[in-house]
């Protein structure tokens, strides 16, 4: 084989080797992005849409942050554009339904939300949609019972929804606590679901107010609806401040007496000795001067 042929063969082999190396082909293969849409309406106010982006990494779904997703109402056009959101590091983003689509929103009893991702260097383009019907939830109390009513828009009238699972709970700082042992209550033919309030010792605010909540969660037809009502059913919470007590963690003028006694006694004793010893030097000095 001539030297030139040897060189060419060598170069070709090297090229083939590199072509088979995964590291060079990684740029061409993009990952699949999975988008999920959720619909929320709290206290029958302006509804909002939340999106969740995730992708399979090392066999598990991981949230994907920094992904720009466009949201549309019913159809992908400029007039029905809800907004553009960018996911957080938890893969989440949300936006309220803007006034610009109010006209479109009023035209129908149910709507489809569209989410589109145009793709980037890492992920292929992706789409998702969610259809929800318009519904309202209300909350009321009868004695110590909580009553929630769920109605949906049919044609032009609000009609009770039967058989929907409603959660009746009390809103707390870390989450919602059911009003009794029953996790969910099904609505009857009048759209009502009721449960007895059995959290009598629940601490409320200074007036004993607590917040009741009725909600449907991830309902296939209506999404997530919730409504709140404040009732004076809780125990009155009386805050007793320890701020003005004498503690190790209080301000300097609130130092514990025992600590002050010990600390200042030690300081006075030791510095008393030191001052005595300084006077002792003066005494020695005087003795020396008198010796002259």
């Amino acid at each position: 084989m001539k030297p030139l042929n040897k060189t060419l063969t060598g170069l070709l082999s090297a090229l083939l080797l590199f072509a088979g190396y995964n590291g060079f082909s990684q740029g061409a293969e993009k990952a699949t992005l999975s988008i999920a849409i959720s619909y929320f309406n709290t206290n029958n106010r302006i509804p909002y849409v939340a999106v969740n982006a995730k992708s399979k990494l090392t066999g598990r779904f991981q949230p994907v942050g920094g992904v720009a997703i466009k949201l549309y109402l019913d159809k992908d056009s400029a007039g029905t554009f809800i907004g553009r959101v960018v996911t957080s590091e938890k893969g989440e983003a949300h936006t309220f339904i803007p006034p610009s689509v109010q006209k479109e929103w009023a035209t129908s009893k149910s709507h489809t939300f569209l989410a589109t991702f145009d793709g980037d260097k890492v992920y292929d383009p992706a789409k998702a949609d969610l259809t929800v019907g318009k519904a309202k939830i209300s909350i009321d109390t009868v004695g110590r019972s909580v009553v929630a009513t769920l109605v949906e828009l049919k044609d032009t009238t609000w009609t009770p929804v039967k058989g929907a699972d409603v959660i009746l709970a009390v809103r707390r700082l870390g989450g919602d606590l059911n009003i009794n042992e029953t996790p969910t209550f099904a609505t009857d033919s009048t759209g009502k679901a009721s449960g007895d309030f059995k959290r009598d010792t629940m601490p409320g605010d200074a007036k004993g107010n607590i917040t009741l909540v009725a909600k449907i969660v991830d309902n296939e037809q209506f999404g997530n609806l919730s409504i709140e009502k404040t009732v004076p059913w809780g125990a009155k919470f009386k805050y007793t401040s320890t701020f003005n007590e004498r503690t190790l963690f209080a301000t300097r003028d609130k130092a514990p007496i025992w600590l002050q006694l010990i600390a200042y006694s030690i300081m006075i004793a030791v510095w008393g000795i030191l001052i005595y010893l300084v006077f002792n030097v003066i005494k020695i000095k005087k003795l020396g001067e008198s010796t002259k």
């Binding site: 503690t247 190790l248 300097r252 005595y276 030097v281 020695i284 003795l287």
Partner: protein, 451 residues
């Protein structure tokens, strides 16, 4: 009979004359000496490092603590490590001077002044380094106007100030009889120094009344300094132990710190006595016997400190709590392991192995061991501060990567080295001004030995 009395008188006279000659010889040997060539080079070297440190501190004042590499995680860096080191080393004054004096240990007399000089120099720089760590020095004023008696930081400020004054007094009182001797040698000491001696001690006439008052004061100081010394380092340890963090959450910290302090203090005295012995030819006064005896003490203290270290690290390592595992593994086999094992092996185990043998307690091996102990102790203080701060129980979210690592900036190194050089400079200057070995005490002990 008459001949016998005459002979006795002559013998007494001869003994007195011999003693007088010996006294003069002791004075001549122990008077402060002017710097030789090496002394000047040494002083110049220390001054240069101090100046570099001062320039770095100027930069810190000009631009703020941003010039350091301390961040939200490691907010106590090399400065606080250095502070703990200085506080530890200052404890030697109480050990060598007070404990030994009260225990009637006479062999330590030539070492007392060295120990006190080290203590004074160390406590001065312990105070200064805290002000450096504050960033803006005027904040020190706030400690007095807004300080809370409940805070261990205030306890530390109080106790350091107290210890400083006691150390100064303990250096000053035993100096008085020596000042009287120094005043006799105006030509040798020069005008400026003579004036200084005159100012601080010309009133000392050596009368029995003066000696009585001075001895009483020294005894009171020796008794007072021991609890204060224990307090100063216990309170310093509480700065850490009262904070809930891995490695600091220990009830053992006070005793652990004091044991370490006595070890590093003794190590520093060993180094200083070797250097002074060589530089000023004091072989007659700092004998091999001193090294032998101090060596035994150092080995005992090293064993004690090793025991506390086993307590501090073995029991948490045995449990290996999830919240502490990153910190402990970092020390045993992680990023900090070279420094950790260096501090344990070089600072404790090797000194023990060397000093248990009689040959190891000779001056030169003792000097090497002293350096090992001091260097090991400095790194030990670094390990007490930094790894713990890098591993909080509740880590912050989304912190920049630079927060998770700490390596001091050149300004921090320069200020730290400057402070160490400053402490050595103070010791050097004190050794130039005052006798390194107490002259009067040496003479008195000599007389007692002859009797």
């Amino acid at each position: 009979m008459e001949n016998l009395l005459v002979n006795e008188k002559i013998a007494d006279q001869e003994a007195t004359d011999a003693m007088a000659i010996a006294d003069e010889q002791i004075i001549a040997d122990l008077l402060p000496q002017k710097f030789g060539k090496w002394g000047k080079i040494w002083t110049g070297f220390l001054l240069a490092i101090c100046l570099l440190g001062m320039y770095a501190y100027y930069r810190q004042l000009r631009y703020g603590l941003i010039v350091t590499n301390m961040k939200d995680y490691v907010s106590w860096g090399i400065y606080i490590s250095n502070f703990v080191f200085f506080v530890a080393i200052s404890l030697v004054g109480s050990l060598i001077t007070a404990v030994f004096r009260l225990a009637n240990v006479h062999w330590s007399t030539p070492l007392t002044r060295i120990a006190e000089m080290i203590a004074v120099a160390a406590i001065i720089f312990a105070s200064l380094i805290i002000i450096v760590d504050m960033g803006s020095p005027e904040r020190f004023y706030n400690l007095f106007t807004h300080g809370r008696i409940q805070s261990p930081i205030i306890w530390d400020v109080i106790v350091i100030t107290t210890y400083f004054f006691i150390s100064i007094l303990l250096l000053f009182y035993p100096l008085l009889p020596d000042i009287k001797i120094l005043l006799r040698f105006k030509e040798r000491s020069g005008n400026a120094l003579h004036k200084f001696y005159n100012y601080i001690g010309s009133f000392w006439k050596g009368t029995p009344e003066q000696f009585k008052l001075s001895d009483k004061a020294i005894n009171i100081l020796c008794i007072t300094i021991i609890p204060v010394a224990f307090t100063i380092h216990t309170v310093t340890s509480w700065l850490f132990a009262t904070t809930y963090r891995p490695g600091w959450d220990s009830t053992n910290f006070g005793a652990y710190f004091i044991a370490g302090a006595f070890l590093v203090g003794s190590g520093s005295v060993v180094v200083a006595m070797y250097v002074f012995r060589k530089a000023y030819h004091l072989e007659k006064y700092i004998t091999e016997n001193h090294f032998e005896k101090l060596g035994r003490i150092v080995v005992l203290l090293a064993l004690l400190y090793l025991y506390f270290n086993v307590n501090e690290f073995l029991t948490p390592a045995f449990k290996m709590k999830e919240s502490e595992s990153a910190y402990l593994n970092g020390l045993f086999s992680g990023n900090f392991s070279p420094v950790f094992w260096f501090a344990i092996i070089i600072g404790m185990i090797l000194p023990i192995l060397i000093l248990v043998f009689k040959k190891g307690r000779k001056p030169l091996p003792m000097f090497i061991v002293g350096i090992m102990v001091v260097v090991g102790a400095w790194f030990k203080r670094y390990l007490i501060v930094t790894p713990t701060l890098l591993h909080p129980f509740l880590p912050m979210h989304d912190v920049p990567a630079s927060y998770r690592h700490y390596f001091p900036s050149w300004e921090e190194w320069a200020i730290t080295c400057g402070s160490l050089a400053g402490a050595l400079l103070i010791i050097t200057i004190l050794a130039r001004i005052f006798p390194i070995i107490p002259i009067q005490e040496t003479i008195t002990e000599q007389h007692e030995t002859v009797k």
